[in-house]
């Protein structure tokens, strides 16, 4: 029962996020970048549902565009990390030997470093913009994918069906792509779900620090950072973007839980 409730609430929250992001890509109630100093810091009203910010820009419009930015960054980053991690992890797990040992030594060294700091370090080199952010976060999260994929591949490659593929004369590469990789996808899917949440959180944290997507382009993180000086007089500016981040993370966490419970039913029913 809990699995179904998790899936339903998580799915609804993610649908809300995707809906807002998709709508925001084509239409917003107001121009998210248009400055209107006469309408500064207005409280939520029937005209501006979530109020206006210190430049009189509509907060709801900015939230919708920010949703798009967050989804695109998180999605591309996760795809990048998963693709690169799958290739490296499969190679290491399948070839084994000293190549594996070197890859895993480097990988463990990278893992022994907090992800957000790694991303920060990369950001210094590639600069603060969307592409830099994706590269930085992608690189920061590749090591965890590599670790999971390699572990799975190591156990799968000893299975009879892989052995059989080899025995009937298929090449190593073919056996790996046709028989090993597809079976390594399930654990990666669970990891990718959680990773989407981590990346979204890391992106908004970096934007909050001023090291993410630069203003005036809205992201939830930089909106939150900009709201600080007006916290006392315009609390809605601090509440709306943070609530969006929290609800999105909640959705992802619930979906991730239900996915994990499905793959490992022991944890769901004791």
């Amino acid at each position: 029962m809990r699995i179904r409730a998790n899936t339903a609430i998580g799915g609804a929250l993610m649908a809300l996020l995707l809906g807002a992001a998709l709508t925001g890509a084509f239409w917003t109630p107001f121009d998210p970048l248009r400055i209107n100093l006469r309408a500064r810091l207005q409280a939520p009203s029937s005209l501006h549902w979530l109020g206006t910010d210190e430049f009189g820009r509509d907060v709801l419009s900015r939230i919708m565009v920010g949703a798009g930015a967050s989804v695109v960054i998180a999605l591309v980053t996760v795809l990048l990390a998963v693709a690169a991690g799958m290739v490296v992890g499969c190679t290491a797990g399948y070839i084994r030997g000293w190549a594996d040992r070197i890859i895993m030594a480097v990988n463990d060294a990278l893992l022994a470093f907090p992800g957000i700091l790694l991303a920060l370090a990369v950001m210094i080199v590639v600069g603060t913009n969307k592409v830099g952010l994706i590269l930085a976060l992608g690189l920061a999260y590749i090591p965890s994918v590599v670790r999971v994929v390699r572990g799975t591949v190591l156990s799968i490659r000893e299975k009879e069906y892989v052995e059989a593929s080899r025995v009937i004369g298929n090449s190593e590469a073919y056996s790996m792509i046709r028989h090993v990789m597809p079976n390594a996808i399930a654990p990666v899917a669970v990891l990718a779900t959680s990773m989407f949440g981590w990346v979204l959180l890391a992106e908004s944290a970096l934007s909050f620090l001023g090291l993410g997507v630069p203003p005036p382009a809205p992201t939830w993180g930089n909106m939150l950072a900009a709201s600080r000086p007006f916290m006392e007089t315009a609390a809605w500016l601090s509440i709306a973007p943070g609530l969006c981040i929290a609800l999105t993370l909640l959705g992802i966490n619930l979906l991730g839980d239900s996915l994990r419970d499905r793959l490992d039913p022991r944890m769901a029913h004791g």
């Binding site: 809990r2 030594a105 480097v106 463990d108 060294a109 990278l110 022994a112 470093f113 907090p114 992800g115 957000i116 700091l117 920060l120 370090a121 950001m123 210094i124 080199v125 600069g127 959180l201 908004s204 944290a205 909050f208 620090l209 001023g210 090291l211 939150l224 709201s227 600080r228 916290m231 006392e232 609390a235 601090s238 509440i239 973007p241 943070g242 609530l243 981040i245 929290a246 609800l247 993370l249 909640l250 966490n253 619930l254 839980d257 944890m267 029913h269 004791g270």
Partner: protein, 314 residues
Amino acid sequence: MLGYLARRLAMTVPTLLLVAIGVFALVRLIPGDPVQVMLGDAADPAQAAQLRAQLGLDQPIPVQFMHWIAKLATGDFGHSITNNLAVLPLIIDRFQVSAVIVLVAVAAAASIAVPAGLVAAWRQNSLLDLSVVGGATLLLSIPSFWLGLLLLLLFGLKLKWLPVIGYVPFTENFWQAATFIVLPIVTLTMVEIGVLTRMARAASIEVLRLEYVTHARAKGVPEWRVLARHVLPNAFAPTWTLIGLVLGHLLGGIAVIETVFTLPGLGRLLVDSIFARDYPVVQGCLLFTAVIYVVVNLIVDLCYPLFDPRVTVA
């Protein structure tokens, strides 16, 4: 034990070496001439040449690296470009602020999360379990910087119980210092409770299923004693490994909290130096954090046998 210690210490060498290479390479990878970047476009050539020589940038890269490592070994992390202070004392000074917050928060989070997870697992799938898991998932989903802002809004601005901006060292005035760091600590504690509770619950569920628990119950051991004596210690071990990760996670995320609460900690120093292009300080901060992280995980691993005697360290 000594053999294990030696092997475990040896494992940290490649990690630290790679971190050092990465941090060293960082400044060389920045597009453009670092000296030009540091001094700005209108730099005087003589001044540029002097800084280049001071940073050793006029020498071949491998020589620069060896020099750099040799200096690090003696504790010389270089000097800040903005204020010419020695980097290492600066970092240590700032680190004390971060360390107090992180350590207290982790200890508080663990002492709440482990019992909560245990009780939830004990009554698995009950209403109590559901609310503990739900609460933990909710806490897991709230970004630390937002929670910090909300607490600041409530206790600082609305209720005016606590100061909003500032910091006083503990050595100057203990109580005043405490008022400045109580909110950051509460924020971090709440965020980490989420992860730790879920871990403690999962570990407790595994342990509760084991035969020695059934055996203890069958021989008439009171239920509280079963939980306290047989389940808790065994469920704590996997949570303990996670504490190392949590500490690292906090060290990485501390910059955000220190920004929210305007605290002069290590994370804030790192971010400020990035903005100021003060690369010696950036390098120092990254290196220092990595070393702390490695040391913390080393300590966690070395303490592991204390909580799980089945793990022999022969």
